[in-house]
């Protein structure tokens, strides 16, 4: 690998079901400005911008990176838009890291966001198409049968989803940016929450959020001057067929 790379700045927005206090640009800028501050740099220090988000239909803007690029210090710079569906946040960081690792740029800003409140995520994820029969509702509709299959094949205990949900919600209480903050979360509360897509209960699902996350990545030369660089040792991603 040509260049050792580090994450030298991170920023997140407050996440909420509806961030109606900000525009789309305001949302991504809230995260990006925090990442720049954390990295002790400014818009003009950025060599390239990588913008990640999943379906354009969430916000109803075709290739929204085209109008957001100049909100993110990207005017007259290289800009890439990543869309790898649900994995897009991670993929965006991987692409940004690659640009530094390859020795192409010294400092890259990446931002992934979604402003799902502009539409309705369940609608946007299961737009019904001609000739098909609609048998699922939202992402949970797709995943619930697979979750059941996983439980069967792995032999994991029935309450594993409940335990994971409680663990994550407890951790979220320590995260000032978290959307869901359920102070008195318990396993019973999760177990007794409505069963939406059996075997998935309401409190076992993620919320539909408005939010953004940004990172600044740099070369080793720039990173060693930073307070606490997080070195990127390796990245990897894999995709499987939709069915077989």
């Amino acid at each position: 690998m040509a260049e050792l790379t580090a994450v030298v700045g991170i920023g997140q927005t407050r996440h909420a079901a509806k961030r109606i206090d900000v525009s789309q640009a305001g949302l991504v800028r809230e995260a990006a400005e925090r990442a720049l501050d954390d990295a002790e740099c400014t818009w003009k220090d950025i060599d390239a911008v990588v913008i990640g988000k999943a379906p354009d239909m969430f916000e109803g803007v075709m290739m929204p990176e085209l109008f957001l690029n100049d909100a993110l210090g990207g005017a007259y710079k290289p800009m890439l838009r990543v869309h790898t569906a649900g994995s897009v946040g991670g993929s965006t960081a991987v692409v940004a890291a690659s640009l530094v690792q390859a020795g192409i740029h010294e400092r890259v800003l990446c931002v992934a966001y979604e402003k799902q409140s502009e539409s309705n995520a369940t609608w946007a994820l299961t737009i019904s198409m001609p000739f098909s029969v609609a048998t699922v509702v939202g992402a949970g509709g797709y995943f619930a049968p697979l979750v059941r299959g996983y439980i069967m094949r792995s032999g994991c205990p029935d309450d594993v989803g409940i335990k994971v949900a409680v663990k994550d919600r407890l951790n979220a209480l320590k995260n000032p940016y978290a959307h869901l903050r359920i102070e008195d979360i318990t396993e019973d509360m999760v177990r007794e929450s409505p069963m939406l897509w059996d075997p998935i209960r309401y409190l076992e699902t993620c919320p539909s959020s408005d939010g953004a996350c940004a990172m600044v990545l740099t070369t080793e030369k720039l990173a060693v001057r930073c307070r606490n660089p997080a070195w990127v040792h390796a990245t990897e991603m894999r995709s499987e067929p939709t069915m077989f």
Binding site: M57, A75, P130, F131
Partner: protein, 147 residues
């Protein structure tokens, strides 16, 4: 071609009414439209961006100082639309135009209702025709008309 090979096709409508939250700058801009006032925003070099953005489109620095611009201005460029499509603002032939309002240093992309193509020319003066009811929407400017 063998008709049995031809793909089946069917109408598919993608339809949704998005709710776009505005943030501080666009909120003032659209509130201004509702109240029939046009607001631009000052860039660091003193020039006025209209329509306004909450950031400078070249440097990304935040912008704050909103300033009024006039209801009339000059057509900088235009394109004639002889056969408007359903969602376009006017149902008769019109022009999309870049209109630089007096007091602004950039142009607004909007429409000019000039009746016929021969009535359009770059440099012509135009003024806002407000919609019958204004709600806080770019459509509050129904169109521009020759001044």
């Amino acid at each position: 071609m063998n008709p049995d090979e031809e793909s089946l096709s069917a109408p598919h409508i993608l339809e949704y009414t998005y709710r776009r939250s505005l943030g501080p700058v666009l909120s003032k801009f659209f509130t201004g439209l509702r109240d029939k006032k046009l607001l631009g925003i000052k860039r660091p070099d003193g020039s006025v961006l209209f329509p306004p953005k909450e950031y400078d489109p070249e440097t990304s620095e935040s912008l704050h100082e909103m300033v009024p611009v006039a209801e009339s201005g000059v057509v900088k460029s235009w394109a004639w639309v002889p056969a408007p499509r359903a969602p376009q603002p006017l149902d008769r032939p019109f022009a999309y135009a870049l209109v630089q309002l007096d007091g602004a240093d950039t142009s607004l992309l909007h429409v000019v209702d000039a009746g016929r193509e021969a009535a359009m020319r770059t440099g012509m003066r135009v003024k806002v025709r407000w919609a019958d009811s204004t709600i806080g929407s770019i459509g509050d400017i129904a169109c521009f008309e020759p001044a």
